[in-house]
């Protein structure tokens, strides 16, 4: 059986998560275009999510 595939997804606060590739994406979440196994997706998040503050907080600070 093939390993389940996941998508790297992001919301408007620019928080990242992963989501099963064969399920509808919940409202307010967007596909970042990266897909792979769970491990691959999480490794990708580790690379791209560099500022973990929610966008609204980040913007209020600057």
């Amino acid at each position: 059986m093939a390993e389940p595939r996941f998508l790297v997804v992001r919301n408007d606060e620019e928080q990242y998560s992963i989501w099963s590739a064969d399920r509808d994406l919940p409202a307010g979440w967007h596909d970042t275009g990266f897909a792979g196994s769970r491990e691959e997706c999480l490794a990708h998040v580790d690379e791209v999510w560099t500022d973990m503050r929610p966008r609204s907080v980040r913007e209020a600070l600057s």
């Binding site: 606060e13 990242y16 992963i18 307010g28 979440w29 999480l42 998040v45 580790d46 999510w49 973990m52």
Partner: protein, 1167 residues
């Protein structure tokens, strides 16, 4: 999708919360109530002003070192109020605090500081722990500074807590101000917390529960009662701290709560328990008399996410409840799809409590915080808790275990949590943890069970075999007193368990043959608690000991060996051999000699009550009567079955006390169905009036101890769904402590009788008869020493206390009772509490001292002897036993020539000292003091000062809402009984007095003046007490009614007794012969007073039996009392055709039974 109709999803109610930071809320509160106490630890108090001024100093210092918004600052300090200053200071600076607890493993501490990017550490431990760390500035606490506004915004992190990860590398959870403020608002609303809250500051700062401890009170104007390290480490000290600081509200883990006793902690009215599964047994013990809430939540959802009230009716597996306000909970399968309601799945939490994520761990954050496919707000996340739950039929979520604890045993995937849930429901098992360890044939399961007396392997297998697959049955079981817990979080320590499982299982039988008793006992306790048998040089810490283990060890030594060892010893000189030496050197105590399985045996206090019963057979001052109104469907048959079950377990309720030759003894009846008469008042014209009359009559029921049950139960039906359950018990088989036990047992037995699945209770470790036998032995060993102490202590003290009264004292004591109460006003209450705190004592001691001063002003005497009540439940084995464990002891109160503060100190010392000499019961003290017997008053103690402050426990019956119904006290065993109480948060006293002596007006005035006097004295404790408020009490209290200070001479002047003649009459000869036999004397004179030549109560009973038998006449015990010489008694027997005095007493008793009673204050049993 159709399954959305039935999925497991629960939403908490909506609740607004302030859009502010914690720092904003605290400074705003400080502006409102600058002088209120914000933090207290014994004598150290910080007002809000001090807290904020000093925190502003910390913030200023942090700013100077460049730390502010967006930074993380370490807090490293001992558990003193300064720690709170440091925390608030970091928040005020706009930074997030990172708890770095001093004294832990240094590498871990520094690793966390590095991970968190901490450049500044503040607190009194900072220099010691970080002084030599390059790149880190260690700051002590600076002085106060002017407050500057907090630059942080609600979305900024407030703190970062590091929790241990499965990989072993701690992960830091980023919690924002918004998270914390929303949570604090929700939990405060849920628990009714307000400015009066005094929280239990027990959680370690690194545990998320500290958010509750600190910020609930500090945002409301309440006060944090912060425990120091020592008070936190010893259950007895912890209990004392909670009692003395009058903690009202607090969170605690079940593991630590299990070490405390609810009886002494009445002020703690809101108790949140959690951090790990709450056993049903714990809820049953603690829920009565307070709100008891389960609290569930991972750090990632900000302290608590799911909660509910627990009651004794809740059973394992325990519900964790429903989401907090603004939160939602879903139960899902491995693919995050909802499961049908009632099925097991992983718990997901959504809502404003969700943390931002894990510091510098984006991948891990993305894994645990997932998109919310269920909610209606786009872009929301849910936190995967990793906990397995299901939704119960009542909608509450039930916790089943961890989801990630799957192991493979012999090829099968096994969920350890599932095994734990099954075993936890096995009767006799309290807590369970199952771990998989490598074994010779692959992974093998080891089950750890508490208590040490949990069912054996056969019993466990019999229960589990039909509920678990073969592969799920544990290969080994280990029984422990308690499961190991982490010192930081107070939660189950699984790594320690795995080590324990891997180690060769040590058994309790593994004891070297040459152990003496003390060594053997300490070895057994050590082995049980730490899992491995000690060698003489075994080191407590190296063996896995920590502060919680130390606390348990000390508790076990106290409970099982009766030895008091300080926890400090375990850390100072840590070897097993040293501990044994310390235990040996500690005071030998009373635990020795407990035997079990004894046949029914009367204890000395029971004999005393039996004697009182013989003396006044028609009155019932020693009854305890309670009643509850039950709303809902009452199953009377199930109630009868439940009562029978209670009596089966507590055999003292089945005792009869007949006598033979004047010697009472106990026999036990076999269990029978308990009759539950139902009296139907549904058609009554005045049901309330009739109910009140019937309750009073039932409370005054005269039990025949020789032939009938010592308790009775009546149900009054007021409507189909409304009943009153009334229970009256003779004090000889019951006491105040027993009340909570009765309710707990009844609740469980009733649930079982209704067919609910209720875990069985382990057998009682001891019976009342075992107490009586243990006590007889104790009294034999200690009796002479203790008696010598009492006679010395009471030498020269007055033995009668006559308060100014309104009516002559009846020649024969009556037992009529009337009630009154007073509560201190707020100022007096505060003054009393402050003084108690300053003197390191209790409110009761202050009230006793004030009462003593009042007595001095009223009687003119400098000292008085009152009675106090001591519960002789000195062994843990008696904790769960219903029965009469109460001693009345004399208390010598000295007033005069002193400041009130000194009087309080004396009263405190006295209250302490009188509990320490239990080997000589009151009868022996009375006898040894040679107190003359007098039918008009109780010997030695005429006024009782009762400081045993039991919270009225709550009855909870399945399917019924129960509320207490006041029942008038059936009578007054003393002239006056003073109960120290707390009502609605203020101290007060309630009294029962004898209306044959005092009018209600006098007693009411006396109470009012006492309340005023205690307030005045406490406000001016250093002045000579006699000079404070000299106008008190008012003349109406001070001065007796005219002629009332006499004893009623009801009997006409007696004919002079025949004197001078050496020849004895036949009656005199008969009596003298019986006296000689009973007292074991060769000769008695006709004019010798029975009580002066070795006679005492029980001897009198023997004389009474012999004389009744010899003469065939009906003679009352009282006759013997009133005529204590051979000659007087003979004259009375020969010439007593007409005895007006006794006839009058009988008439008084009859009148009393018919008298309408005043509405009493809330019910409180006699001691």
């Amino acid at each position: 999708m159709t399954d959305t109709l039935t999925v497991s999803a629960v939403h908490g109610p909506d609740l607004l919360w302030p859009d502010a930071t914690l720092a904003d809320l605290i400074t705003a509160q400080a502006a409102r109530t600058p002088d209120a106490v914000a933090v207290r630890q014994w004598d150290t108090r910080l007002t809000y002003r001090q807290l904020v001024d000093r925190a502003a100093g910390v913030a200023a210092a942090l700013r100077e070192h460049g730390a502010g918004r967006g930074d993380r600052v370490g807090v490293c300090g001992a558990r003193t109020p300064d720690l709170v200053v440091a925390v608030v200071g970091v928040l005020l600076a706009g930074a997030a605090y990172v708890p770095l607890e001093p004294g832990g493993p240094r590498a871990r501490l520094r690793g966390i500081a590095r991970d968190a990017g901490v450049r500044v550490v503040v607190g009194d431990g900072a220099a010691a722990e970080f002084g030599d760390e390059p790149g880190v500035t260690a700051l002590g606490l600076p002085g106060p500074a002017l407050l500057a506004p907090c630059p942080a915004r609600p979305g900024d992190p407030a703190y970062v807590l590091f929790t241990s990860g499965s990989t072993g590398r701690p992960k830091g959870v980023l919690t924002t101000h918004r998270n914390a403020v929303e949570f604090v608002t929700g939990v405060s609303a849920l628990t009714g917390a307000d400015a009066s809250v005094r929280s239990l500051g027990i959680a370690s700062l690194g545990f998320d529960a500290a958010t509750m401890d600190l910020f609930v009170p500090l945002t409301l104007g309440g006060a944090v009662q912060l425990l120091g390290a020592d008070d936190r480490a010893d259950p007895v000290r912890l209990a004392r701290f909670v009692a003395e600081h009058e903690v009202t509200w607090g969170f605690i883990t079940p593991t630590v709560l299990a070490l405390l006793d609810p009886a002494g902690l009445p002020s703690w009215r809101v108790l949140l328990c959690g951090g790990e599964a709450v056993p049903a047994e714990l809820a049953a013990r603690w829920a009565p008399g307070r709100r008891f809430l389960n609290g569930y939540g991972p750090t990632e959802t900000t302290v608590l996410a799911v909660t509910c009230d627990l009651t004794p009716a809740d059973t394992d597996p325990m519900p964790i409840g429903r989401p907090l306000p603004n939160h939602r909970a879903y139960v899902v399968d491995a693919d995050l799809r909802p499961v049908p309601a009632g099925e097991t799945g992983e718990l997901l939490i959504g809502g404003p409590g969700l943390a931002d994520g894990y510091l510098n761990r984006p991948g891990l954050t993305a894994e645990r915080f997932v998109p919310d496919p269920f909610g209606d707000v786009p872009g929301e996340r849910l936190y995967r808790t990793g906990d397995l739950v299901r939704q119960g039929p009542d909608g509450r979520i039930v916790y089943l275990g961890r989801a990630d604890r799957q192991v493979k045993v012999r090829g099968q995937r096994i969920e350890l949590g599932e095994i734990e849930a099954v075993l936890a429901a096995c009767p006799g098992v309290e807590r369970v943890a199952v771990e998989a360890v490598p074994g010779p044939a692959g992974a093998e399961l080891v089950a750890f069970l508490t208590p040490a007396g949990a069912p054996d392997d056969d019993g466990l297998r019999a229960y589990a075999a039909s509920r678990l697959t073969t592969a799920m049955l544990p290969a080994r079981t280990v029984r422990l007193d308690a499961l190991p817990v982490s010192a930081t979080t107070g939660k189950l320590d699984r790594p320690a368990l795995r080590e324990l499982a891997a180690a060769t299982p040590a058994t309790v039988d593994d004891v070297p043959a040459d152990d003496d008793r003390v060594t053997g006992a300490v070895r057994r306790i050590w082995t049980r608690l730490l899992g491995t048998a000690p060698a003489p040089d075994s080191d407590f810490l190296a063996a896995g000991g920590n502060s919680v283990a130390a606390m348990r060890l000390v508790a076990a030594l106290r409970a099982e060996l009766g030895r008091q060892v300080d926890t400090g010893v375990l850390f100072a000189d840590r070897t097993f051999a040293a501990l044994v030496d310390r235990v040996r050197a500690a005071d030998p105590a009373d635990a020795d000699g407990l035997t079990t399985g004894n046949p029914p045996t009367l204890s000395p206090p029971q004999r005393r009550l039996w004697f009182m019963d013989q003396l006044a057979p028609s009155s019932a001052p020693y009854n305890i009567a309670v009643a509850h109104r039950l709303r809902g469907p009452l199953d009377v048959t199930a109630l009868g079955a439940a009562l029978r079950a209670v009596a089966e377990r507590h055999d003292v309720l089945r005792w009869r006390i007949p006598c033979n030759g004047g010697v009472p003894y106990a026999v036990r009846e076999e269990p029978t169905d308990v009759a539950v008469p139902v009296i139907d008042l549904t058609g009554a014209a005045d049901p309330d009036g009739e109910l009140a009359g019937m309750l009073a009559a039932g409370a005054g029921h005269a039990f025949d101890l020789a032939t009938g049950p010592p308790w009775q139960v009546t149900v009054y039906r007021l409507a189909a769904q409304e009943h009153v359950l009334a229970v009256t018990l003779h004090h000889a088989v019951f006491d105040g402590w027993s009340e909570a036990l009765l309710y707990d047992e009844l609740a469980l037995a009733y649930a079982r009788a209704l067919g609910r699945s209720v875990p069985g209770r382990p057998p009682l470790p001891a019976t009342y008869a075992d107490y009586a036998v243990w006590r007889a032995d104790r009294d034999r060993r200690r009796g002479e020493t203790d008696l010598a102490w009492w006679t010395a202590h009471l030498a020269g003290a007055p033995t009668a206390l006559d308060l100014p009264r309104d009516r002559p004292r009846p020649a024969v004591q009556t037992y009529a009772g009337a009630e009154a109460a007073v509560r201190l006003d707020e100022t007096a209450d505060r003054a009393v509490r402050d003084l108690a705190t300053r003197r390191g004592t209790t409110v009761a001691a202050v009230l006793l001292a004030a009462f003593g001063e009042l007595l001095r002003r009223v009687t003119g005497g400098d000292e008085h002897v009152l009675g106090a009540i001591v519960a002789d439940r000195r062994l843990a084995a008696f904790d769960e036993v219903i029965g009469f464990f109460i001693d009345t002891v004399p208390v010598r109160v000295r007033s005069g020539g002193a400041s009130f503060a000194e009087q309080v100190d004396r009263a405190a010392a006295e209250l302490h000292d009188v509990t320490a000499h239990p080997g000589a019961p009151l009868e022996r003290i009375v006898e040894a003091l040679g107190v003359g017997r007098d039918t008009s008053r109780a010997p030695l103690v005429q006024v009782l000062f009762n400081v045993l402050n039991f919270v009225a426990p709550r009855l909870t019956l399945t399917g019924l809402a129960a509320e207490p119904v006041p029942v008038p006290k059936p009578g007054s065993p003393f002239d006056l009984t003073v109960y120290v109480v707390e009502r609605d948060g203020r101290a007060g006293v309630e009294v029962v007095h004898n209306p044959d002596l005092f009018t209600g007006e006098r007693i009411t005035a006396l109470l009012a003046d006492l309340a005023d006097l205690v307030g005045a004295l406490a406000a001016d404790p250093d002045a000579p007490a006699a000079e404070v408020a000299p106008e008190l009490p008012r003349p109406a209290v001070r001065v007796a009614a005219l002629g009332a200070m006499s004893v009623a001479t009801a009997e006409p002047a007696r004919a002079p007794l025949p004197a001078g003649s050496d020849a004895l009459t036949a009656t005199e000869e008969l009596i003298a012969g019986i006296w000689r036999d009973v007292l074991g004397r060769d000769a008695v004179g006709v004019s010798d007073n029975f009580f002066d030549i070795g006679g005492h109560s029980m001897a009198l009973a023997a004389v009474h039996a012999r004389l009744t038998e010899a003469t065939g006449r009906s003679i009352t015990m009282l006759d013997l009392f009133r005529h204590p010489t051979v000659r007087a008694l003979a004259a009375s027997l020969d010439g007593a055709a007409d005895r007006p005095e006794l006839a009058r007493a009988a008439m008084r008793a009859a009148a009393r039974r018919g008298r309408a009673r005043r509405t009493p204050p809330p019910r409180r049993p006699h001691p």
